[in-house]
């Protein structure tokens, strides 16, 4: 009898019971979103893939400690963010060679008009220029749709700290992208 797809909590219970097929299902279900989140932090697909693999290995290792009352994606994001921040710290200490520029979007992405790619590049730069904590709060808020409370649960920061980071982060982005927004406003007027 087909009872429909298993929930994340059910799969985690199966993983804790030693069923590797359940772990495979979790990986297939969440690998794209984990890689996307990681990429927005580390700005390189090769690093994002490394982070994603580490995330799933850690999930498997901690499966016995997972409590179904906790939302799986919150727990997942927490691991992703912590690993990404570790990678960022490690990469910032490493001297960057000329050959190691941030990777462009993958080759199989649909071709964008030049203007759209330039806009995306500017946005990526502006987000990347934010301090780590502001960037973390803004990325989780804007691109992953997390509420203030969820961001607080993922990061371990207080809700008031998250709100302060969002205010400062978005203020910084408004300044960084002001001229771009002004041009857009004039063009559409």
């Amino acid at each position: 009898m087909d009872t429909g797809p298993k929930s994340d909590a059910e799969l985690m219970t199966a993983v804790a019971g030693g069923r590797m097929a359940a772990m495979g299902e979790l990986v297939h279900r969440h690998q794209a979103s984990v890689m996307a989140v990681a990429y927005r932090f580390v700005d390189r697909w090769d690093l994002a893939e490394d982070v994603a693999q580490d995330v799933f290995v850690r999930i498997h290792r901690a499966a016995a400690d997972y409590r179904p009352e906790a939302k799986f994606t919150t727990w997942l994001y927490r691991i992703v963010v912590n690993l990404c921040l570790d990678v960022k710290r490690r990469e910032s200490r490493r001297p960057v060679s000329m050959g190691e520029m941030p990777a462009d979007p993958p080759a199989d992405a649909p071709p964008d008009p030049i203007e759209a790619r330039e806009t995306a590049g500017r946005v990526r730069q502006a987000v990347g220029d934010l301090p780590d904590r502001q960037r973390t709060a803004v990325v989780l808020h804007r691109y992953d749709g997390l509420s203030h409370r969820e961001i607080a649960e993922v990061t371990g920061w207080s809700e008031s700290a998250v709100e302060s980071l969002l205010v400062r982060g978005y203020a910084g982005l408004r300044d960084a992208l002001a001229d771009m927004n002004e041009i857009d406003r004039r063009e559409t007027a």
């Binding site: 772990m23 996307a36 693999q53 498997h60 992405a109 759209a116 969002l166 205010v167 408004r174 002001a178």
Partner: protein
Amino acid sequence: MNHPTELELIEWAAGRLEPERARAVHAHVAVCEACARTAAAQRDTWDALGNWTVTPPACDLWPAVEAQLEGISAPARAGRPSWPRTVFRAAASILLAAAVGHVVGRWVRSRVGKPAVAVAFVESLHLESLGGESAVGLSTALQTLVPDDLKEDAR
């Protein structure tokens, strides 16, 4: 006039305010120039951020993840004994040795009637010819050799 907080304007631009509060902010922004400017800038920024879309490369992480998990768990399955098993084996060996020793010892004593160690010792000293009444056959033979004050202690 109650101005909305900057955070409320952020959530309003994101379309995430509670409906009742969203209506109030909308009404305020319509009449407050300062808040209207901030709200407009925040809405433009929110929309601009949406231009940064990311598409992960098509790949399947599971084979690599599975290989890592197999590598982590393989040493535990490859014959390296876990400590409880080692302790159990050691304890079993000790008990077995003690049991065998006990059985052999009883058999030896039943065959010769004297402590096996004592018999071996006497034989090694070639003193069996001295005879005697004690278990090791020495006390009578040595009486003549032991000073009188020590005989008192020996009794």
